[in-house]
């Protein structure tokens, strides 16, 4: 895409390029001065064309360190509430935030459509694959949104892993503590086609897990195959099914289209749900090689 076409396309996106330039330059300089910031793998960011950046998410300030590490402008989805506050109303969009009203019925779809606009215009888009900050410190199961977006827009995913941001801004701490060491690493671009048939729905989970594996390599985190905001797994003594816990009253359609999921389905009693299945006993193969 030539620069003028990109500029035209960007006009439909929030935050002008000029405001972005004026703001990001000083912030980048400040970040590099106030923190010991190491950036690795910049060669993995495409010089032009679309790409989806998928960082791990541990601290609010991840949304500062990843953008300032990039050689190009990027966009991301932000809470619609920021637009109601005069302090953030102009700055955040200029930094690349696309406001999405999360109270809406299909907020996820609206967000994905907004992201597709960014990518279709040949830009970088960042989304946290875990969907929310990890409170456990582990890297959690990835949502399939980035994979679906990658397929829809033909944009590669650049896995991102960072370290040190929790020390800069621990959870619920209002300010960023200066002079800490932060490392941001970009991995090699990944494409859906290399992980299976894009028309096969199973490929989305396989690709997502493969991206999370790369993020884990870059961030050094232990991976757990549960969502970051998942409730504690139910233990072995779940009682008889109560109406409140099933919620499975709305009938699921069948026979055509994707079945409409009912509410949460009751777990069978005594059903163990291990977070990580690590078998303690070392069992030798039953058949000799």
């Amino acid at each position: 895409m030539n620069p003028s076409a990109a500029a035209t396309a960007n006009e439909a996106l929030p935050g002008s390029d000029m405001a972005n330039k004026l703001l990001v330059g000083p912030i980048r300089l400040a970040a590099k001065t106030l923190w010991d910031l190491t950036i690795e793998g910049l060669e993995n960011i495409p010089a032009d064309g679309p790409a989806i950046l998928t960082p791990n998410h541990l601290s609010f300030c991840d949304s500062v360190f990843v953008p300032v590490s990039l050689p190009r402008r990027m966009w991301a989805i932000g809470k619609g509430e920021y637009m109601d506050d005069w302090k953030t109303k102009f700055i955040f969009p200029a930094l690349g935030m696309i406001p999405v009203d999360r109270s809406g019925g299909d907020a996820a779809q609206v967000a994905l459509n907004a992201a597709a606009r960014v990518l279709d215009a040949g830009n970088l888009f960042m989304m946290y694959p875990e969907g929310t900050r990890s409170r456990s410190g582990h890297l959690h199961k990835g949502r399939t949104g980035p994979a679906r977006l990658s397929l829809r827009c033909g944009a590669p995913i650049v896995p991102v892993g960072h370290q040190g941001t929790v020390a800069v801004q621990p959870p619920d701490y209002p300010l960023m503590k200066p002079f800490k060491k932060v490392t941001v690493r970009f991995g090699a671009p990944m494409r859906v086609e290399d992980h299976g048939d894009p028309d096969d729905p199973r490929t989305m989970r396989i690709f997502t897990d493969a991206v999370m594996f790369q993020v884990a390599q870059l961030s050094g985190q232990q991976y757990v195959h549960t969502y970051a905001n998942a409730p504690e797994p139910e233990t072995t003594d779940v009682g008889p099914t109560s109406p409140a816990s099933t919620g499975a009253t709305s009938p699921a359609s069948s026979g055509a289209g994707i079945p409409t999921p009912p509410g949460r389905i009751a777990l069978p009693p005594r059903r163990p749900v291990p977070i990580v299945d690590i078998r303690s006993a070392s069992t030798a193969p039953a058949i000799a090689p």
Binding site: V224, A252, I258, P259, P262, A266, V273, P285
Partner: protein, 487 residues
Amino acid sequence: MVRRGVDVYLVEAVERHPSTDTAFVEEGQSFDWAHVRQRAGDVRSHLTEVGVAPGDRVAIAASSEYEFVYALLGALGVGAIVVPTNPMSPGPELIRMLGPLEPSMILSSPMARSMLDYGHDAPAPVFDIASIRERSTAEHPAVVRRDEDETALLMMTSGTSGPAKAAMLSHANLTWSLANMCDKNPAGMQADDVVLCALPTAHVFGLMVITAVIRQGALGILRSRFEAAATLDLINNHGVTLLGGAPLMWHRWSADPGAPAKMTSVTRALSGAAALPLEVHEAVLDRFSLQICEGYGLTETSAIVATSLGQPDVKPTSVGRPVPGVEVVLVEPDGTPVEPGDTGEIVVRGPGIFQGYWNDPDATDEVRTADGWLWTGDGGAFDADGNLFIVDRLKDVIIVSGFNVYPAEVEEVLREHPRVASAAVVGSAHDERGETVAAWVVGDADEASLRSWAEGQLASYKRPTDYYLVDELPLTITGKVMRRELR
């Protein structure tokens, strides 16, 4: 084309079929429906004489044989609960399996020699079906019609990953499932179909095929042992129209040089019991111009949950859409439905869900909730058109450093190696990573070339760390790899 009502009681269905129409052909011998009725009546007489009462268990140790057909109808006709039993199982195994079911009688076909040999240790009298004496129809006791909620069958689950259990299927389960294989499906079995019955009748897929023939009054071509060449001749000589097979059977047929000329009468091709490899699907399409329709189901769902039979758009490697009346939801381990397009455990509710495991309410509760949802233990994903794709048995998923490795994905990569015939992978315990992938490979590839092959195509955590080169893999009767034997 003859269409009958959807609510057909299996035992009574045979009463309506034209007497002189051929019902089954076996080893060159033909049997008409009058003969089926006669022999079923003889079995009813025999069972009544020896005191078998409604609700008693009668095991039938037989394969896809004519004796199975009339023994089944005879035993169901006195209200007994039938236990289809694999005649090739070693005697001690059969005895161990049947003991807890406290059967009144074991009916054995000529094939079930081992059963007769172990007769003195058996948990019930063993009786050779063929030796049941012929009586006049006047002597036949009337058919006992059971309520639809009464148990009709105890199916031993094949149990690739655990001990075998007996699943109770009611008359309603059976009626519903057969209706979905026949009248309710636009491409279902009809009276004018010629059907190859070569699947084991102790497996729910084989049982459904043979009982659908009985229900519809179609023509069943019986073959108790599977051999590609022999079955191809049967298909050709009898003009088989509807052909169901396990993936291994389709693989053998597709590899037979003379097969294309012998498959010309087949209009519908079905595969079930295990995932059909894409290369087999493509070979059958290429060589026979036949699009194999896959189905998905468990013993615990009376087989059918989803099928691509009768759908205008068959997607290779998909098992099609859920059949009407079945609810299918994909869930996270905590029971929350997955996001659209994501993979989750298949949870099913509907009229085919079994009554539970025989005398084992705890095992039943582990898979079925009070409100009727069956947790299948299989992973699946829906595409945007509602087609279901099966991932793997969740118990078979290998967890390496917290990451899920789906055996099918690794096995497919290994199978694509030019010197590999088949492959199976299982988890092997590892101190740091929890598990690592161990591969069992049949073929003449050496370990170094397998390693570099995997390196080029799989993320590092999915690559097998150990390779075992073997002559063959342990398979179940339907050709599924018995992974527990490899762990």
